[in-house]
């Protein structure tokens, strides 16, 4: 298994990728604080993972997501350890979407973010239900309580809570990553394995035309 991961990872991070993946992990661990400092009511803690997914590829994004959560646990938030499967799926999913060209235009980015939110909710529901009993000590607990009080099971309630908040967070994350990537100059973009995930045919035409 390691050999496959290593080979794919090496291919994706060739060139500038390795320090970039490290930068993205650090970004994951700090952008939540930045959002909090600006009092923006979203987690936005997977911007780094999605950025890696677009600029490097799915395997690096799996690595970036998993390491982010391991380090978050090491830095004092042990609960993050249990959500490694969630971030790994987020990394893989957005990496595949990026490969299919979903990050080339905003009208694919928005549905992409919503889909990503649904996927994240499906994966995180059983973890939140069985490990945490649905209580995460955050504002969204109220939603879980509401869904349970109207007669849903624990798993269902956590899942409903997930699909009512994750898609918003992930769509905003996707839009931010899309805007950041569109903002990159070609000279930097060409150093990344995933540069083509961002370039639109129109952009390429305009380049070759000039």
């Amino acid at each position: 298994m390691w050999t496959t991961i290593r080979r794919q990872f090496d291919k994706e991070v060739e060139g500038a990728g390795l320090p970039f993946v490290a930068f993205c992990i650090a970004l994951n661990l700090t952008s939540g604080q930045l959002a909090a400092a600006l009092k923006i009511p979203l987690y936005l803690d997977s911007i780094g993972t999605v950025l890696t997914a677009v600029l490097c590829g799915p395997w690096s994004a799996i690595v970036a997501g998993s390491l982010s959560n391991i380090l978050a646990a090491a830095l004092g938030n042990p609960a993050m350890m249990f959500f490694i499967p969630v971030v790994a799926v987020i990394g893989a999913f957005s990496g595949l979407l990026a490969r299919k060209g979903w990050f080339r235009s905003w009208y694919l980015v928005v549905p992409g973010g919503i889909l990503q939110g649904l996927v994240a909710a499906v994966v995180s529901a059983p973890i939140a239900a069985f490990v945490f009993g649905g209580v995460m000590l955050s504002g969204t607990d109220v939603l879980v309580l509401y869904f349970r009080s109207v007669g849903n099971t624990l798993l269902e309630s956590v899942f409903y809570q997930g699909i009512s908040s994750d898609p918003v967070d992930k769509t905003v994350t996707y839009i931010i990553v899309y805007m950041l990537c569109r903002n990159l100059p070609l000279r930097l973009l060409q150093r990344f394995n995933g540069g083509n995930n961002v370039l639109t045919p129109a952009m390429l035409r305009s380049i070759h035309g000039s």
Binding site: L18, A22, A26, L27, L38, F82, F132, L137, L180, N183
Partner: protein
């Protein structure tokens, strides 16, 4: 200071298996054992001042979480006998489930806290490499530590630079989201430029993917063969107890 990380890792796995497969009582006893070990046994004392300071608040918030879980489940899982405490009618089945989940969560989190508190990230990386994790991933961990140390300061600098240009960082939510971008974008642009230069610098110093990284000694193992055997056996017992109904 060198204590074998692999020993600590085996002990961590031991406690995690109790948490996942053992009864609530065993989990709660383990939490107490962990707290005592942390206070008395040098290998499990926190290495950094920061993790020492963080431990108590995180631990207490976990206890709070566990209590909350018990009450919430007692209220909502309507099984078994009902008894009333301070005006709340709680169900026995719910309490049982809540205590079990709470104890499990408490044990998992405490053992992780103790483990990570007593291990430095470079040591962790070295043991990961020893355990066969690709060196590229170990390298990534080490580089992340570097970026983690520098990013907060950079965010502060960018924050002041943009505020000095009149960025509305204390305005309505939609304008703050836009300011978020005007702070995130310089951070990411400069991060990308720096990553590229760092990547170049590494290859210019002969680094190739797969080069084994060298670490200072990982510490002597203090667990005897019997101890390790005990851990492995109990791990399987707990797993079996979990799989068999």
């Amino acid at each position: 200071m060198a204590h074998s990380i692999n020993d600590k890792l085996s002990i961590l796995i031991f406690f995690l298996s109790i948490a996942l497969a053992g009864p609530a009582e065993a989990a709660l006893i383990s939490v107490i054992v962990l707290l005592i070990t942390r206070a008395l046994a040098p290998p499990f004392r926190p290495l950094a001042q920061a993790s020492r300071r963080r431990f108590l608040p995180v631990f207490l918030s976990l206890v709070l979480l566990a209590c909350l879980m018990t009450i919430v489940n007692g209220l909502l899982l309507q099984e078994g006998e009902v008894f009333t405490v301070a005006g709340l009618s709680l169900y026995e089945g719910g309490i049982r489930f809540g205590v079990k989940t709470g104890a499990r969560l408490l044990l998992i989190a405490t053992s992780l806290l103790v483990f990570f508190g007593s291990v430095t990230i470079p040591h962790l990386a070295s043991s990961l490499q020893h355990a066969g994790l690709p060196t590229q991933i170990v390298m990534t961990v080490l580089l992340t530590v570097y970026f983690l140390e520098t990013i907060p300061e950079r965010i502060t600098r960018i924050f002041s630079a943009q505020e000095a240009r009149g960025a509305p960082v204390r305005s309505r939510v939609d304008r703050r989201v836009r300011s978020f971008l005007s702070i995130l974008a310089p951070l990411i642009l400069s991060g990308i430029v720096e990553s590229i230069e760092r990547g170049t610098a590494l290859t210019l110093r002969g680094y190739r993917a797969g080069t084994r990284l060298e670490f200072e000694g990982g510490g002597e193992s203090r667990l005897s063969g019997v101890g390790k055997l005990f851990i492995v056996l109990s791990f399987f017992v707990f797993i079996l107890a979990w799989v068999l109904p």
